[in-house]
Symmetry: C2
Subunit: 331 residues, 2 copies
Amino acid sequence: MKQGITAKDVAKLAGVSQSSVSRVYFEGATVSQKTREKVLAAAKELGYRPNEFARSLITNRTKIIGLVMKGVQNPFYPQVLKQFTTAFKKLGYSILFVYTNNDEIQKDDIDTLLNYNVAGVIITDATLSLQANEDLFNNRIPLVLFNRKIVGNKFFSVCCNNLEASKQIAQYLLKTGCSNMIYISGNENTSTSKEREKGFVTVLEENKVKYKKYISDYTYEGGYETIEEIVSQGKIPEAIFVANDIMALGVIDALKKHQISVPDEVKVVGFDNIEMSAWPSYSLTTWEQPINEMVKRTVDYLTAEINEYSGFTKNIEIDGRLIVRNSTYNS
Amino acid sequence: MKQGITAKDVAKLAGVSQSSVSRVYFEGATVSQKTREKVLAAAKELGYRPNEFARSLITNRTKIIGLVMKGVQNPFYPQVLKQFTTAFKKLGYSILFVYTNNDEIQKDDIDTLLNYNVAGVIITDATLSLQANEDLFNNRIPLVLFNRKIVGNKFFSVCCNNLEASKQIAQYLLKTGCSNMIYISGNENTSTSKEREKGFVTVLEENKVKYKKYISDYTYEGGYETIEEIVSQGKIPEAIFVANDIMALGVIDALKKHQISVPDEVKVVGFDNIEMSAWPSYSLTTWEQPINEMVKRTVDYLTAEINEYSGFTKNIEIDGRLIVRNSTYNS
DNA sequence: TTTATTTTTGCATACGTATGCAAAAATATA
DNA sequence: TATATTTTTGCATACGTATGCAAAAATAAA
């Protein structure tokens, strides 16, 4: 069980005690400059590397952030992954990546996070059970729901202001003269889809404008198939608001297949502003999620809670902006 | 420093020793069924959870796989990420995700992997220094280069058979009657781009067919800009082989912008078979990477090396297949 | 029933580090 | 120079678990 070079070896070579070696590597600990230099020289000569497990065993803390993600193949989330990894790396944290195939994170994934006593958890597009939340709380592990929220507000969540966004989208489409619209939702139970619908519907009802909702699943194929259904019903609307961009791209491709001209016959608006939205084959009008600010707020909250756990909860909603492209406007 | 429920607490409640508790949780250890039941009942009642750090400190092993990724926003790699996470989760391993912005993994990232004494490392689209490789070797941490290889063959790498693929792509384009072609490369120094070029060029030279190479960077924008350059030079080829799909999509959009008809005037072939290649707006002919087999071979090698480290190296090349769509063939 | 063999268990210890506390060393003040 | 104060250091210990080994218990054989 004997491993490599230890703090004892370094201490011997540097002519100090093991606890002085430890103090050199422990931020904020008191150690003289002279001792520090001796230790670092010895450590370098021996190729010493602090043992992270021994440290975590003593401190009961890690420099690991658990990141739980479901829709990793939606181009919005790799961007999120990249930004979180980059931001936390600067702070000395590593990312334990958990992929989940379910709307709700599974118990064995929670167990993994607890077993490693991660410093914090981010769940990007899934939810979690009350039991799981309690487990994290009891272990004083701060949690952020990213781009999701759960009714009851016992969580810290960071989202785009979906309600305001969808109101503005509705108003924008009204202003372009549309009077017959549909909303294509994501997975029925997600907070994002519900709110995007609500804002949209509220404005349309205030203006006594006809609308209809179709349920889909946040995938390209789901968007495509919904248009197939709408076309087969012979009910082509003047405008379509789609709950996310990847689905909207499927909508556009299906409309093209049926020789339905965008935006002349049907206007299409998505949500996210993924990279592909700007591609000329789509040129999708969309709501840009304020991803930089969302990541920043998440990182700020987690680092504050890691430093001093309070368990406080809040729902943060950040405004994005409408990006108008050729799916709603002829340029 | 006192943490939660420990094996001692469980032992006391179950009326056995701490080492018997440990034996229940350690696979392969000898423990009677009666003792096992008593321990598990006590553990459940107390909500016991083995401390991963104490374990790793003793065993010097973890159940963490380091996954280093550069092009996380190329749709090929989120798919890879998802599959690795799923495959290793079944084996009880978690993924420590490392994003790198560089062609070569940086020292501080290697340090992270070493500090956590990961059980294995996968690097998907970057390389590493000889020093880094030596560090991993000295710590008996198995490494796989995924979709990359380094000349000299001192690594274990798993790739698509790029040479054979690009030969077949060249032959396919010849058979369609093209006699004037270009190759758009990825980042100049990557093994994948070099090999995809080599196979292509070899066949074209054997057949005395004109070709030209343009250097790009594996991004959509890179592909788009290369076409802008080619068009400004007034040298429209009959066929374009692009080193990866995301770049090929940019190529198609730029050709469309210039009213250049695909495949009538120019045929376009990509590489990867990402999800977007099948979208009707592109319908890209491409070489499908055998991702399932590549992931399987990687997982198999790592688990074998984790069980019994040998350090053996090999270059695995797996055949993919040509997927013909409308960018080369009118249907 | 006694003896031999196998299985199970507990004791004692180690893994590598951080940390409370008292002692030693360094610095400041009279 | 002596005293007071502050800074630095080493000692001893604990963190929670796995493990070598001898002892105890269980099982098999004579």
